[in-house]
Amino acid sequence: MDQQKGVMVLGEISDGKLATITTELLGIGKKLANELGEDLSALLMGGKARGLAQEAIAYGAEKVYIAEDSLFDDYNSDAYTQFVANLCQKVSPSILLIGHTDIGCDLAPRLNGRLRGGLAMDAMELSIDPSTKLLVSTRPIFGGNAYAKVVSRTVRPQMATVRTKVFPPAERDESRQGQIIPIEEKIDPSAIKVNVIERLKEEVEGVKLEDAEVVVSGGHGIGSAQNFEMLWELARLLGGTVGATRRACDEGWVPATRQVGQSGKVVSPKLYIAVALSGAMSHIVGCLGSKWIVAINKDPEANIFNIAHFGIVADYKEILPPLIAKFKELLSAK
């Protein structure tokens, strides 16, 4: 365990650029590495890795490991697990930071199973304990009703997955120097058991949930897919988009990709309008980053009123139409 040193960031490439989450992990990674007096490294995979290695260095990585095999251009669970696990065994990082992304949510638990380290998924806080020098990860438990601090005392690497926008991106400095280290490992083809047959990206109407300044979210109280139309109208009027609770998605009233919450998306708009949703913590954790939360619910005891800034206790069907009408009036006057 004494040989495990350094903080490694599992980088991701998105649209030919370093993914935002990677610049954020390099930021917090540098902070942790400095507190340990150790180095920060990054791993980039795929044909674009070499071209982006200098970017990772600009964002603070002292070493960038690159795996240029085009086999890694698209995520394959078995190939990535084998490669990253082998690299970790060679390089022995003390800490491995991974994005809470499509790749990370699949890869991190598998890596943990293979490397037998310690993993905290969905960490919202990371720090180094000054006396033990252990990584302390804070993560939500019980659907976000509480939080737990976890450490791994004796096993390595210490791993955490982190969502985007939890930490700010690192400072970019083009003058930074670093080492680029190609890793030439061939993947054993017999290790690839699961193959991707097809990938379907959903056509996003309007602005993406995670980027929206205004989100109008509906819960189980909406009652039907048809009734969601009103939320769409309000969202469009305010230049935003629609979100939903898991239960509303379960009913098939909106696509699953609209889900806001612990097992869905985390959003941080300026305005979050929660319509006919009770405010279960597993949903709330998805919108707590909002600047203003407005609630419309006919149940005065609904938990949503405990976290909203403004609220109306009424049947949403009686509120949304006049609300939309008033907005139309006010916004056309502007």
């Binding site: 669970s77 949510c105 699949d106 991190a108 638990p109 598998r110 943990n112 199973g113 037998r116 993993l119 998924m121 969905d122 438990i141 019980f142 009703n145 939080y147 737990a148 601090k149 976890v150 450490v151 791994s152 005392r153 058991k193 699961v194 991707v196 047959i197 097809e198 990938r199 379907l200 959903e202 300044e213 998605c249 379960d250 009913e251 990709t257 612990q262 097992s263 998306k265 300026k270 279960a280 600047k291 203003w292 407005v294 938990n303 405990n306 976290i307 800034h309 403004f310 609220g311 109306i312 206790v313 009424a314 049947d315 009686e318 509120i319 006049p322 609300l323 008033k326 907005f327 006010l330």
Partner: protein, 264 residues
């Protein structure tokens, strides 16, 4: 086709957040009195996936639950939905297990049961939600693994699994036997029906202890050492909600619009 489903019994997550209590000393969650525990939501979806496969391909579903002896309730619930057999893994040694230790114990039970084509787990537990047991279990058993499934089909000894992505889906193919973790997007679970309920009431549900499944106490101890919870806390959330009113709902709505327009 023989499917094994791992199900966990958890405190009811639907309780009003105001009733949610913890004991920081023992680092435990205190379930509100009088509220019965339930099956973890994602595990119930995994069960639903198993039932759909059984509808199509016949075969058998075995359910296992690691927990207190009360976990026989969730096993019975599983049987009422369509599972054929179930076992509860309960032992004093199985207290405070982390993801590795949980996977180790489940793995031992699965080895004892044997003869399976597919193992299904929920993507994460509705209580501690670490989200790792499925993947670690697959590693222990040397099985191919697919995570976050929203649809599972079996054709000619192969599994065709639709997985959820943040902005869409992907479809993967895996050989059998394999382990799949299931997400809520698979859809709503079936309600237990008359026949199922009757079978569930009558079914004998064995309780297996550590020695029944060959758990090595040293291995178990080693497994427990991976993560340690140093603190649990409930964050303070103090927002004062300003109630917007009006003589009529329309007036209230108009007042709300006026408020909002100043904010954005």
């Amino acid at each position: 086709m023989h499917t094994i489903v791992c199900v966990k019994q958890v405190p009811d997550p639907e309780i009003p957040p105001a009733k949610f209590k913890i004991d920081p000393e023992s680092k435990k969650v205190i379930p509100p009195p009088g509220v019965p525990p339930v099956i973890s939501v994602y595990d119930e979806r995994a069960l639903e996936a198993a039932c759909r496969l059984k509808d199509k391909h016949k075969g058998k579903i075995t359910v296992i639950s690691l927990g207190s002896e009360k976990a026989t309730d969730v096993v019975r619930h599983a049987i009422s939905m369509g599972a054929d057999d179930g076992y509860v893994l309960s032992d004093g040694a199985f207290e405070n297990l982390d993801s590795f230790a949980t996977a180790y114990v489940l793995g031992k039970a699965i080895e004892k049961i044997g003869g399976y084509d597919l193992i299904l787990c929920g993507r994460q537990a509705a209580d501690w939600g670490a989200g790792q047991v499925g993947s670690i279990l697959a590693e222990i058993l040397g099985l191919p693994v697919v995570s976050l499934a929203c649809d599972v089909q079996a054709e000619d000894k192969k599994l065709r699994v639709k997985r959820i992505l943040k902005d869409g889906f992907e479809v993967v193919e895996a050989p059998m036997p394999a382990l799949i973790t299931v997400s809520s997007e698979i859809g709503l679970p079936r309600l237990p029906a008359g026949m199922g309920l009757m079978l569930a009431r009558r079914k004998q549900i064995p309780i297996w202890k550590a020695k029944d499944i060959g758990v090595d106490p040293l291995e178990l101890d080693k497994s427990k050492a991976h993560t340690e919870i140093t603190e649990i806390f409930i964050p303070k959330r103090e927002t004062q909600c300003e109630r917007i009113t009006g003589a009529t709902p329309s007036e209230a709505a108009a007042n709300l619009a006026l408020k909002i327009v100043k904010l954005i």
